[in-house]
Symmetry: C2
Subunit: 304 residues, 2 copies
């Protein structure tokens, strides 16, 4: 039986792993795709203290090296379900079954879909949720970015360096993005702001994105814009379906300040929990606290 | 008037400064002694993710460079008192008076004194609260370490590399330190564990520490040990006297998950608040959240 199984290998999970190893707990980290999580596909991160500017992938490599240097075992597998056998946590994975005294959920969150016609069919054919991944395909072309938060504005700026023109479509009048990102977007000569407007449909020609239909919410007038790429940044869904603990309306796991969930011995950290801020800096704090809290729980754990 | 004044230049304050600068807020950080805070006097830190092993001072230099690179103004001054003029925060400092919409308290905490005879008089003459600062003076000598937590055990290990012998005195039977530190202490050939015992008095010869009187709590027997250094690590006191917000019994500032205190527009982060863990990793998370929360508060701030 493991002391701790950490589910998810982003900044929160890797930090929990670092702390758990330092506490000499028998720990396993399970990651289903790629160590680093969502941040690893970020072009550049400039607000994790100590690293003024580094790629998301570069930073996550450092986290992984740090954790592995302390002996953390990282396994590629997927947790499908967590059940309780009295107070033992039983994790059903693609590869089999694992038992643990404590579990730390660090599965993060995934981009939300708009659900408009054309979106699903054209994903990977012009529709994208990751500018870093797909931006380079649109060098010198016209692209559209949908959303009004940090990610939308930041990625619009990134894309403006590659694309001929970026149309930033947002359903509200004002943006809720960090002002620093907004200023950069405003300073970019090839970003056009289209506010009070929503994307209604994405149309294809020859199987790839060719046009986007935009509706102005004030005038109710729809317009077709010729674009070859549509980047959608309208929020995120946490990856929490596999675990049965208390969650908020968005599916984010509820925790207290100790990262404890509604089930004793199950903790949640980072983007998958109800948190005021989705940042590497905050995921790191969460991970340290959860491992510390789990350590205390494990010390007094008696299988029953 | 400043948007934010940050009081204290440790990891929490510097992170708040990084985030505040990125949000383009008019920010000032006030530090009374030395940027970096308590961690800057730590020999080595191995659990801030991304840096497998770095000196406390080295890490804090990186934080400071990061913040200054974003244009953060750091001023050496001391805040004596924070008063309210309606909703404006008025900070009385040694140099004068400052006005701010929001204040982030990041003043950390200071080592607790034992209050035994000889302690105060001999501080700096053999009595110390910082192994990194004073350890090298005791090369080849006998020293005593008092305490049972992480810091006590970690610093005993550090001192064991310099001193001839380290006597680790703890009033309880068991240690509450991280097991990794404890294992290292147990592996050190020149650390002697003296449990269930307290330091009663420190005696001098020629004006410097010469002997420590130890009482065994089980036998009530007192004994004199010849030591030239006494290092005391028995907890910490937060630096929070200058601000009138709700605090716990230990003087630590109470906050919610947004780092909000009982006064609107005053936030607290890191070691000076009631927090489950006193770590760079957690102070960093706190600082990011407080700056973000303060940004929201400032956006709707109207002087009244």
């Amino acid at each position: 039986m493991f002391d701790i199984v950490i589910v998810g290998g982003g900044p929160g999970g890797l930090t929990a792993g670092i702390y758990a190893q330092r506490s000499r707990l028998k720990t396993l980290l399970i990651e289903k795709e790629m160590v680093g999580g969502q941040i690893a596909v970020s072009d550049v991160i400039e607000n994790y203290p100590g690293f003024p500017s580094i790629s998301g992938a570069g930073l996550m490599e450092k986290f992984e090296e740090h954790a592995k240097g302390l002996g953390l075992e990282i396994r590629l597998d997927e947790v499908q379900n967590i059940a309780l056998d009295a107070n033992v946590k039983v994790l059903k994975t693609t590869e089999g079954e694992l038992r643990a005294k404590a579990v730390i959920i660090a599965t993060g969150a995934k981009p939300r879909r708009l659900g408009v016609p054309g979106e699903k069919e054209l994903t990977g054919k012009g529709v994208s949720y990751c500018a870093t991944c797909d931006g380079p395909f649109f060098r010198g072309r016209n692209v559209m970015v949908v959303g009004g938060g940090d990610t939308a504005v930041k990625e619009a700026v990134y894309l403006s360096k590659l694309a001929a023109k970026v149309t930033l479509v947002h359903r509200r009048d004002g943006f809720r993005a960090e002002r620093m990102h907004l200023e950069r977007a405003e300073a970019a000569p090839n970003i056009e702001f289209v506010t009070n407007s929503v994307l209604k449909e994405i149309k294809a020609e020859n199987g790839v994105v060719a046009k986007a239909v935009i509706e102005n919410l004030k005038t109710s007038k729809a317009e077709e814009a010729p674009v070859e790429g549509v980047f959608i940044f309208v929020g995120i869904n946490p990856t929490t379906d596999f675990v049965d603990v208390d969650k908020d309306a968005g599916g984010f796991i509820k925790t207290n300040q100790l990262m404890e969930t509604s089930v004793a011995g199950i903790y949640a950290v980072g983007d998958c929990r109800t948190t005021p801020l989705l940042q590497v800096a905050t995921a790191v704090g969460d991970g340290a606290i959860a491992a510390h809290a789990a350590d205390g729980y494990i010390e007094t754990f008696k299988e029953r």
